[in-house]
Subunit: 302 residues, 2 copies
């Protein structure tokens, strides 16, 4: 039994790319888009959706797969109504950047007979929106999928979900068709890991750029003397607040912990400035970079 | 009167690139290289130098221009002997990454009749050494040059040095031939600015990578889930300690100040995680990035 109708709620970069990928890699059913009125015609023009609607019930009812790809706060707002309107056997999945709050809510509001799978595609671009969507955005990228904590450590993580519905299995097949590389973990581990390697780096970049801005005079000094290193370190700082607001709000405890660790690390570096112990800091950092590079080669995500 | 002989002390990436640039853009005199014994044949093979010597006096005597391109600590070690051996009318210039200590020492040890000009090419590559040197490394890059503090604010900064010797003017012409864009500032401003846009970003990257390394488990989590943002933020962390040791040692006060500001900025972000004030942090950061990008277009350094 194959998907006949898929609803994409939020037809931006992620939702649009998922829909375009389905079309490119052979999905023959109907894709219904739900978004703001002005976005829907653009999603239709790009060929991502077959029809658009601003009516949530219409989008979700009689649909095999519901793909929630709005910012996290809106996912949290939509989920109860979506869960109520979903037909038995349907799969609701999301692409939100934080997972604990969403998965906890899903446990409360998704009725018996409807499936839920939390997800987070580790893919993105500097520019969002349907205009930047691409059928191959997920190709070679990790796609994080949420298992319950007690299952997360078990064998058979690689895509086999015990007791999963047919719809879940079919969704995983589609992710494979799109070239995504599934990574199974529990929601708490996900949010902690993202705080460390995604959310903290963003806030560091924002804080660095803002601090240097405060120090910058009318002649543009010192920003005018910045080179490639500063450019790398402030590239994330161009990110729009709107996305990060939701992430900071829904992962604030992990982020506070990560910021505390970072402050301690900076304090340690400060005390080591004049000592040879700084060498150990550099060596530990280089091990992380080496792991990052070997991991990149292994998974081919670069 | 044109340069007949130039000495390059330290034939690595910077010294080698300076020498290769001179050759490519028409210097007809002799270039003498000074470095460790094993480096000199490689510098000759690359065509950067005409002959090499491990004898400092031999390299420096009867030379019109002495280009010091070793790490900062070695510049500080060499400078007194170099200044004593330099012939009257010669120009000693350096390419060290910090300038206060070097320029202060030069004032003490460079005798009457010998000229000194502190410099710092804002050019580099991830990999150092003569093998990575390039005749066009300085093309389109800023080249910071040190004026005395009282002169730094004056008009006529753009390459005109009042009372400069002929050798200094000729050196500036060669920088122009190599495509470098001179930026005049005083040593204190230079070291403060570099602490902000170069040295602090390096230590942030090192501290972030080291901290995440400490958090990483046997399975590679969370590094294994890192994306492009973390990659950007930890690229600098691959830098070798050797270069940074000297920079940290010779710019430690500015760096401590910069690290303090950064800690304050992180603390502010931490308190704003759950509030709308975080939006202002993002907006201020975006202004710095916009300035960086407009400045980059103006100077064409990307």
């Amino acid at each position: 039994m194959a998907f006949e109708r898929i609803a994409v709620l939020g037809c931006g970069l992620i939702g649009g790319s998922f829909a375009l990928g389905l079309k490119k890699y052979g999905f023959n059913g109907e894709i219904v888009g739900w978004d703001r009125e002005e976005v829907l015609p653009r999603a239709r023009e790009r060929g991502a959706i077959d029809r658009g609607t601003a009516d949530l019930k219409e989008a979700v009812g009689d649909t095999d797969l519901i793909y929630l790809a709005t910012p996290v706060t809106l996912i949290l707002e939509l989920l109860p109504a979506v869960a109520q309107s979903a037909k038995p056997g349907a799969l609701i999945t999301d692409a939100g950047s934080t997972k604990v709050r969403i998965c906890r809510l899903a446990q409360q509001v998704v009725p018996e007979g409807v499936h839920f799978l939390g997800g987070h595609p580790g893919a993105g671009k500097e520019a969002g929106g349907i205009e930047n969507a691409s059928a191959d955005l997920f190709a070679g990228a990790k796609y994080m999928l949420i298992k319950e904590a007690e299952e997360a450590g078990e064998a058979g993580e690689a895509g086999e979900v015990e007791g999963a519905g047919e719809t879940t299995k079919e969704f995983l097949e589609w992710l494979g068709n799109l070239g995504a590389e599934p990574v199974w973990l529990d929601a708490e581990t996900h949010d902690w890991a993202m705080a460390m390697v995604s959310h903290l780096p963003q806030l560091l970049s924002t804080a660095l750029a803002g601090m240097v801005w405060d120090e910058t005079d009318e002649d543009g000094l010192p920003v005018s003397l910045a080179g490639a290193g500063f450019r790398d370190m402030t590239r994330l700082a161009a990110s729009p607040y709107d996305i990060w607001r939701d992430i900071c709000l829904t992962n604030s405890e992990n982020l506070e912990r990560a910021l505390d660790r970072m402050s301690q690390a900076l304090e340690r570096v400060r005390t080591q400035l004049r000592s040879k112990e700084l060498k150990e800091e550099f060596e530990r950092a280089q091990r992380a970079v080496a792991l990052l590079q070997s991991g990149a080669r292994r998974s081919g995500d670069e």
